[in-house]
Symmetry: C3
Subunit: 352 residues, 3 copies
Amino acid sequence: MTPAGFTLGELAEALHARLDGDPARIVTGVAPLESAGPDQISFLTDRRHHDAARTSRAGAFLVPDDVADLPGPTLQCPAPQQALIDLLGLFHPPAAIPAGVDRTAVVAGDARIDSTAAVGPLCVVESRAVIGPGVRLHALVHVGPGVDIGEGSVVYPHVSLREGVRIGRRVTIHAGAVLGADGFGFAFDGSAHRKIPQVGGVLIEDDVEIGANTTIDRATFGQTIIRRGTKIDNLVQIGHNVEVGEHSLLVAQVGVSGSSRLGRGVVLAGQVGIADHVTIGDGVIAGAQAGIPSSVAAGEKVLGTPARPLLQAKRIMVAETRLPELLQRVRALEQRLARLTERLGDTGPARE
Amino acid sequence: MTPAGFTLGELAEALHARLDGDPARIVTGVAPLESAGPDQISFLTDRRHHDAARTSRAGAFLVPDDVADLPGPTLQCPAPQQALIDLLGLFHPPAAIPAGVDRTAVVAGDARIDSTAAVGPLCVVESRAVIGPGVRLHALVHVGPGVDIGEGSVVYPHVSLREGVRIGRRVTIHAGAVLGADGFGFAFDGSAHRKIPQVGGVLIEDDVEIGANTTIDRATFGQTIIRRGTKIDNLVQIGHNVEVGEHSLLVAQVGVSGSSRLGRGVVLAGQVGIADHVTIGDGVIAGAQAGIPSSVAAGEKVLGTPARPLLQAKRIMVAETRLPELLQRVRALEQRLARLTERLGDTGPARE
Amino acid sequence: MTPAGFTLGELAEALHARLDGDPARIVTGVAPLESAGPDQISFLTDRRHHDAARTSRAGAFLVPDDVADLPGPTLQCPAPQQALIDLLGLFHPPAAIPAGVDRTAVVAGDARIDSTAAVGPLCVVESRAVIGPGVRLHALVHVGPGVDIGEGSVVYPHVSLREGVRIGRRVTIHAGAVLGADGFGFAFDGSAHRKIPQVGGVLIEDDVEIGANTTIDRATFGQTIIRRGTKIDNLVQIGHNVEVGEHSLLVAQVGVSGSSRLGRGVVLAGQVGIADHVTIGDGVIAGAQAGIPSSVAAGEKVLGTPARPLLQAKRIMVAETRLPELLQRVRALEQRLARLTERLGDTGPARE
């Protein structure tokens, strides 16, 4: 439920903002510049939208410190993007969590569920699982044997957590994600691919977010690890024994092959693919659809398949545009040189 | 259940076809030219298969208006591909829907379920959800709070519909699809990525089809929208605030990044990726694996990464094949020109 | 449960290995060279790790026949990779399967479930389904009408098997996979895309493994077929009417379009895309992210988009790196040739 509204005075206090306007004025919601009405507060977090702000019908504006020429009261903050997050949290608090285990959930006798946790309808919680304080399992979640979910984590419907998966605190796992499926490991015995038992696990550290229908395989030995603060989008594949460093961002449909290691603060844009057993250094940024066959040093920006340093990749892409023309130019050069050579009596071929 | 069979006379009437053959003859099923037997009717919807039709063992043929030289009775239609759809509908009617809520489904007291709707085993329908007339929820579907599903829509097992998602009429959602998961929106506060609450929704208009394990994120504000008649294949990712126009086709594993807008009748082949905040005009066709970094004008055909106009992309691909040879030819030209220049007494370098 | 341990003598016998060391020594687990402790056995299956083996703290080593210089007892085998699989099977036997139907499962009265099969909590098994001996359905699996699952197959949570899907023996289907969703078939009738009913099925032969959240569509007519021994990774898309030959490997996020046929022993690396109606010969290997627009002959190795023979693709990739420089060199050649020509009194243009 959205609260009935806040006065601008209340918002200024909550957001530590400086108010230029009537503190008693009430706003009932947050909306973008184009769609906000007089009862709503809007926001200018990107200065490129200044013109849209000036013509907005919003009843108030959350703005950077030095913006004042808008058609309504302003709440001025040094970090308006962060203040917007707080503002949204005020108007859209997380739905209240009714603690307790739904009567239709199927919970093993030896699972330990904190009294402040919520287990939704038709969840299955298997033997020895541990569900921490304030955890919220939405409906139809599967928690395998011995899985451990840390305080305050939220798991959406149809998530599968295979045996032994360990989830930290304040982790969000979106619907349909699968953690702990067997890694893709086989050995050909001369007539068939034999499965290499995947006896490791998956470790998700605190404050990680995992997208819908994303898959993170269990390790062959040891752990596949997603470090603290990393955010993973939908339909991403993380192979066995991968380690993703802290505060990285993996956009939708990325694939990371087995045993590769990503550093801190890595950013992989959509549909990037990373080969197995490579190391991606801290802060690497890979452009959309990049194919990374080998290790990349910390701080590099890469693009393309095979991935190359960003500027080089862009120069190649520009040059490719001229490639058909280049073929013609070389042919013309060869012809001219041949004619010239012939005229001068040189008998060697222009093209070797 | 497949009906026992139809006479050719019945089929001719149902399909508005002209029958050349015995109207009392019975056929019991539909099969392709190669595998059809004497009890089955086959079809010639693509003239390239004319030879296969002439040698087919089928007991009858659905054909274009002007085809008559086949070894059996023919049903002649001006639009045989459309008639084939009708024919398949006769032999394979949708399974009868037993209206009602399965006794194992978990339905909130304030959900509104039409008396002609079917809610399958172990579905979870949360508070304030609205399930329209003739809707069929297969088993194990999750319908979140306030979700609205329009008349005649079909939802397959393990689909997740997060709070507030709105589904039009005659929509089909295949197994495992996730609609309304949070968009991938974060703001770095200097030490960690903070989540931007995603307070918008998802709107699916009438006659849309959504593939298995496809994910369509909720908007940050407002709606992520899939317009009327659009068909989306499996494992597709649609980011927050995207709008896909009417009657578009998105083939498997396509990814559309946040806030991009696709026009009417757009066709994206498999594994295409589209950057965020771009506009794809009406009728654009993108070839498989294209990577589209910026807006594309209506009617364009594009291919490649980065996507270029189709003919240019193909010319580049052909030219690339000759690139290694081109390097050698340029080296030869340089050497020849150097020799020639040397012979003529010019002292400048041939290569700069 | 992991057994308490084995003596090296027991292991030598079970693995048909030659023991160099004390047969009474007990090891309690298996671990890689770097992490193994004195109570664990490690393994040297790749000779490149010989140095790591010499400094390992492991209590024993599984090694190739001719390796003897390690700091502990050795079990020598001609095929250590295969012996490692057996060794892991000893220490990590599959969890005991409690036969029987969980009391919370919803099973149609006319489904046939073998008395040695296990049906987990909150599974739904629909009418006429057949569950063979020793089959294990984990929790929350959906088995559609008439589905047939062969002896010893394992199905993980949240898998959807649509009507009529047939699964062979010893098949593993990981969590969230969807088999038998409708193929992506539509015909435009001038105003809308009409759905072509997909009345075929899916056939999975023996010893196939299917990854998490992978989708395999039902055929329009006939069967989509995955042949014996083939292993498919996570998030793979197999279109309608595809046939994948025996003992092939499809790595994560591969997409195979409708009606294409893959031979035996095909290997598709991650994110490969294959067009529709093409034939991929036996033993073809496609590198990561390859885009395959047309048929590939048996035994070929291909790479790139569009896919080309491996060596050619690599030569093109190397040449691309020099493309920006090549443009400059051609420009220089043109200028030099123009100057030379001018000097010699030739009036024709160097660039045409």
